[in-house]
Amino acid sequence: MSKANLLDRRAVVFELLRDRKGAFAIGGLGASTYDIAAAGDHDRNFYLWGGMGGAVMIGLGLALAQPTLPVVVITGDGEMLMGMGSLATVGLQQPKNLSIIVLDNEAYGETGGQTSHTGGTADLVGVAKACGIGDSRAISTMAEVEAFASSLQDVTAGPRFASAKIDGANLERVLSSRDGTYIVNRIRGSIGHTPI
């Protein structure tokens, strides 16, 4: 069930990561991880296949540990709703290098397309703003995606939050590695940490 004027999720994520430079990208479990994989594998891709509700907190831990590098969390509305309290935690910490973008199809696409709360009454941009993330915006055009992509490189002005309403079409899965130890050690290696 596609509505008109909704963004294509793969195009959004491709644009976010096209000129990523040193940015870390965390993908919430499900389609967001496939979208990041589809944009191209990278040492600093943090693919999640579980831990639902944890994507923003993983981003926060990474952002606090590496304050000079951009960190972007790319997740879905269902995953974000499960970790909504983490927006309050981010609001309190104010990490300048953390950006969060929700790919909002108003549904649990991975489990059969059941309607999520954002398809009803919940407004995640309002939640983020009310939690103290001052730069919180709704995105509905690719020009706004481009602006968000360049702003996430600014590690002095975050945290920032965006929600992009995307087309609900189920796209072909692009499977990333699902070996967590490999994924984390590869990220650590990219910033000069050797295995224990």
Partner: protein, 177 residues
């Protein structure tokens, strides 16, 4: 009401020194009376960042991100918070995290509030079923060596570890009108 040991350094102070020595940087917590002195020390430290959470599972995910970014952390919580963490504890095994949590116990040793008992009784079992080694300190004089051992095996051997700080150690909460 918390009994203080009659020693040079209080046991929370001893824990703080151990965390300093192991270069712990991120300290996520959900407040608990038993952790209040340690939390104050962390919040007053320039080397550590105390991070208040809305729920304990946030701390597990935070520590995964911290580790990916090259920093060590420790999660401070109460026994009831262990139950909130269960699914997120998957990350500890999946990422082979050097995970350390210090858990103040409720629901045991003279507990007044029956609502604390079900979770307090199952805290150790849940942690062990989640692949986490459990150590326990019940007396002020043993806190240092138990926390030191826990930190060493967590950080040096990537062996996920929980140290339970007994209600006998922290003192049963006194409810008065």
């Amino acid at each position: 009401m918390h009994a203080r040991a009659d020693t040079a350094a209080s046991w929370p102070e001893e824990i703080f020194s151990i965390l300093q020595r192991f270069e712990v940087r991120q300290v996520p917590y959900v407040p608990d009376a038993g952790h209040s002195e340690l939390i104050e020390r962390v919040l007053g430290s320039s080397a550590m960042r105390g991070i208040a959470l809305t729920t304990e599972e946030e701390g597990v995910a935070l520590l995964a991100g911290a580790w990916a970014g090259g920093q060590r952390g420790v999660l401070l919580m109460q026994s009831s918070g262990v139950g909130n963490c269960i699914n997120m504890l998957s990350l500890v095994q999946i990422f082979r995290l050097p995970f350390l949590t210090l858990v103040t116990m409720r629901g045991e040793w003279g507990e007044f509030n029956p609502w604390q008992v079900p979770m307090g009784s199952n805290t150790q079992g849940i942690l062990e079923l989640s692949g986490i080694k459990v150590l326990r300190a019940s007396h002020p004089g043993e806190v240092r060596e138990v926390v030191e051992a826990g930190a060493a095996q967590a950080y040096n051997a990537c062996t996920p570890t929980a140290v339970l700080l007994s209600q006998r150690l922290i003192g049963a909460k006194v409810f008065t009108k």
